[in-house]
């Protein structure tokens, strides 16, 4: 008797979804066992998380506010991942976008509101795009490993914002407290239905990126390059140009998140402006299989998970790091489950060579 792994053919979308859902369920059960080991009732904790994320209008609004940066960042990451360009620098791109937007918000506080907001968006896009183009340039020119470069640039951006907050941009009116001055009303995004208009921008971007990746020539070239470098080369695709354009968009969109966060949520720039969104969005992008519509759903659920876990932090005294653990668990299980979408495990009672003789 022995196990044998056999390759499966293409499986239906329905089966794929079922396997993924089973994986997420298993992740919740495993994490629940862990909670039980800590002497907590996992059902109670999960229920409290749901309540914390959707229980009141305010909490629901907070969940939506938290899903906006996740959706937009995931869209940016999806463009890069489609090309198999492992952009894990979204965190830094968000921060540099926030830096660009904040520069104009602080320099021109009296500019008319619509004009200032548009300029801030453009500045944020440019800030993120530059941060995305630097590793793209090295990748295109010398095939430099983009994973590490994008990640290192996160730390450079973080130190840059820290420098500003503790140095030249420190608010002199904050009684020595190291913070950057709050924006004027002109640099704050208006609200629609209780949530800043970032949600409308996010939904517009979902449609735009979906069309770009699915139906445009450049989008197609990006996915061909992602599938196979050689195919792309033989097909006459300009590889360097494709890498640069994709990362310009990827970084720029992530940069835009920085603007949405400073102008919509925190109303100033700080070192916590991104708060790990750039990393969480990697998970949501992957779980959504790089598909724009799925990104909305997965990001919303993950925002609920984050919002819910900040609630259980106060209710049960569980560290906020539990959200990270649960996210990683879900990703582990889904990554593992992909095996079962591609292969089948069979138990054989006869020796393999005997079976061959029979057939």
């Amino acid at each position: 008797m022995q196990f044998r792994v056999i390759k499966k053919g293409e499986i239906s979308q329905k089966k794929y979804t079922l396997i993924t859902l089973t994986a997420i369920f298993s992740a919740l059960v495993t994490s629940g066992l862990f909670l039980a080991l800590l002497g907590l009732n996992p059902l109670e904790v999960y229920l409290a998380m749901v309540k914390g994320a959707f229980g009141t209008t305010y909490r629901l609004e907070q969940t939506i506010v938290k899903s906006i940066p996740l959706v937009v960042t995931s869209l940016g990451i999806a463009i890069a991942f489609k090309m198999k360009f492992w952009n894990i620098g979204a965190e830094g791109q968000i921060m540099m976008g926030a830096f660009g937007a904040s520069y104009f918000a602080l320099q021109y506080p009296d500019m008319s509101r619509p004009l200032l907001l548009v300029i801030m968006m453009v500045a944020a896009f440019v800030g993120g795009a530059i941060w995305g183009l630097i590793p793209a340039f090295f990748k295109a020119k010398w095939a430099t490993n983009e994973t590490i470069v994008t990640l290192m640039m996160n730390y450079v951006a973080l130190k840059w914002i820290t420098y500003l907050q503790y140095g030249p941009w420190k608010d002199p009116n904050a009684l020595g407290f190291p913070k950057i001055a709050n924006f004027t009303e002109n640099a704050i995004l208006p609200k629609i239905f209780g949530v800043h208009i970032g949600w409308i921008i996010a939904l517009i971007l979902v449609v735009l990126i979906h069309v770009f990746l699915k139906h445009s020539k450049k989008g197609f070239e990006i996915s061909v390059l992602g599938e196979s470098y050689n195919t792309a080369r033989y097909a006459g695709i300009n590889i360097s140009k494709t890498i640069l354009i994709a990362m310009l968009l990827s970084g720029g969109i992530c940069g835009l998140v920085g603007m949405l966060q400073v102008a919509g949520v925190s109303k100033t720039l700080s070192v916590e402006i991104s708060g790990g969104v750039g990393y969480t969005a990697i998970i949501t992008t992957w779980l959504a299989a790089l598909k724009a519509p799925w990104i909305v759903i997965v990001s919303f659920l993950f925002a609920a998970l984050i919002q819910g876990s900040s609630f259980i932090q106060t209710a049960f005294g569980i560290s906020a790091a539990s959200a990270l653990l649960l996210e990683a668990m879900i990703l582990f299980f889904v990554l593992g489950s992909e095996f079962f979408t591609r292969y089948r495990v069979v138990l054989e009672y006869k020796l393999p060579f005997k079976k061959k003789e029979e057939s």
């Binding site: 010398w142 095939a143 490993n145 130190k159 990393y279 649960l326 582990f332 292969y343």
Partner: protein
């Protein structure tokens, strides 16, 4: 004597990098790219710190850290070797897991300090004769026991990789798993053993930070050193001996800003804090500019191996 004390401190700051770089070299030699170094270091750091803090036993602390790192690597190995999952995303997931793991366990310990007599077991031990060599003796041979262990590990790994049959087998697994399989090398077993061993070394690297280098618990104690280690693997061209040099070079860059502060240089510390990260980018770019076959990664790196898909 500023330079001698600076170089000595650079060796200490480079030791966690050396452990982690060696761990990743051995992992990548088996053909698996584990980007979870940062996560495994954090797991080792928190378990090492807790074991040391509550038991007061340095041996237990170090062993716990190695086990924690190996546990992280086990998750990665199961996903990428047995279930053939995407190695890059699995590694990232492991980093996120390790960050959550250390944040969760270290929650109430921020600012906790190791006991005095615990620290004493990591005091510098001067090696007789070698320690008396002027300058070099002070820098290299008047260090604590974990620094020596890192040196010795690098040398043993170098001998293992280039001078033993098992090391040759390992390199075959990483370069061309199909050929290694045909030569009846147990691919899965080799991969698991070396990935786990690599994880244990990463855990030790993290523990060196929390037990010796910093000895006070702080959140995200590794601050990106795991990623610098991944870059150092490329810098060292997958060679354990070159990793020693790379790790100490980066150890020096790590502390240069702090050192210059005292000498009256009027540049913000936060700008100096960028130096190791920018240097990593610069070095990666330079290495990629002059590509040659000798410095190439193992050919099978990042590809899952499935016998029936040859």
């Amino acid at each position: 004597m500023l330079t001698v004390s600076f170089l000595k401190a650079a060796v200490i700051a480079g030791t966690p990098l050396l452990f982690a770089t060696l761990g990743e070299i051995i992992t990548e030699k088996a053909g698996n790219l584990n980007l979870g170094v940062e996560g495994m270091m954090l797991m080792g750091a928190v378990i090492g710190f807790q074991a040391g803090y509550y038991s007061g036993n340095p041996l237990l602390a170090v062993a716990g850290a190695a086990l924690a790192g190996a546990f992280g690597a086990l998750i990665f190995a199961f996903l990428t070797v047995s279930l053939r999952a995407n190695q890059i995303v699995s590694g990232l997931a492991l980093t996120i897991f390790g960050t959550g793991f250390s944040g969760f366990l270290g929650q109430g310990m921020v600012g906790f300090k190791m006991a005095e007599n615990f620290n004493a077991s990591f005091d510098a031990l001067k090696i007789p004769i070698l320690g008396d060599i002027p300058i070099i003796g002070e820098i290299l041979f008047n260090q604590d026991i974990l620094v020596y262990s890192a040196f010795i590990t690098a040398i043993i790994l170098g001998i293992y990789l280039y001078r033993t049959g098992k090391g040759l087998n390992l390199r075959a697994v990483g370069e061309n798993p199909a050929a290694a399989d045909a030569a009846s090398i147990r691919i899965t077993r080799y991969k698991y053993i070396h990935i786990l061993f690599g994880g244990a070394l990463c855990g030790l690297g993290g523990a060196y930070l929390s037990l010796v280098h910093v000895p006070v618990w702080q959140e995200n104690i590794t601050a990106g050193r795991g990623w610098i280690a991944v870059a150092l693997v490329i810098f060292a061209a997958w060679n354990p001996y070159k990793a020693i040099f790379g790790a100490f070079l980066f150890g020096g860059l790590d502390i240069i800003g702090f050192r210059l502060q005292g000498t009256g240089v009027s540049i913000s510390q936060y700008i100096f804090d960028m130096v190791p990260y920018i240097a990593t980018i610069v070095i990666l770019v330079i290495v990629s500019m002059k590509k040659d076959r000798k410095n190439a990664p193992p050919k099978g790196l990042g590809e899952p191996y499935f016998r029936e898909e040859r």
